[in-house]
Subunit: 123 residues, 2 copies
Amino acid sequence: MKKLATITCCAPGAPPLKPKEFESLSARFKALADPTRLAIVNRLASRDAACVCEFNSLGLSQPTISHHLKVLREAGLIEIAYRRGTFYFYRLVPEAVEALAFALGGSAQPKLVLATAEGTVAG
Amino acid sequence: MKKLATITCCAPGAPPLKPKEFESLSARFKALADPTRLAIVNRLASRDAACVCEFNSLGLSQPTISHHLKVLREAGLIEIAYRRGTFYFYRLVPEAVEALAFALGGSAQPKLVLATAEGTVAG
DNA sequence: TCCTTTCATCGATATCTATCAATACATGCT
DNA sequence: AGCATGTATTGATAGATATCGATGAAAGGA
């Protein structure tokens, strides 16, 4: 299991961080600093997994969507869940989102663990 | 007093948002998508208020610091606390940080958090 | 084998952004 | 008034990024 950095940064009382931590944190916030990528993440948040083809409805070209998926993937926020034929299905990486929430002072511990490993249907 | 949007966006189970909400949310994440600005916020997080002159130690020119302060100010994350002579003192806007943490699925509860955690430097 | 479909990558480009030097503004002091 | 200092604003520029069209890669079907 991959250990996600759990550093606080921006909430009152946060301890001073090092330059390298600002770099890595800002890189992950950068992934969320785009409306299209937020829309993708938001859509993945309400499903178990979503096909890339679903994002056509965002009104952007296919290469552009692919680019944004890559940015989110490299930030660790999403990942490829599985493939069915030529269809790619992406899913959210909840721990990565939690880590960012924590950096902003969100709840220190995952209080309602809404699922074990996989298969959270987010009712 | 502007009402801060308390919308969830990116955590599992988040409801679908509207285009305009992605715009405003991404704009605020954009303010945190820079290592220098994170360093500024981080420094303000451990103090009541900090003089602009303190940020000289970040190794950037004065106009550049001023620019980043403006970006953070326009994002509502910081504000001018007071002025003493020609010295400007900025402070964090905790509610704005909380709103972003909430958007990422952080605890919806208000801010008595940092009471239990000991070792908060803050002083 | 050839074609179709889905998605990723490449190349080009217009826009945005971080940065600095120069300048303007504001405040306090003499 | 005149000067010195701390910040903000302006203008310029190099680098980053969002976007698209064209192309490539992978999988399945005729």
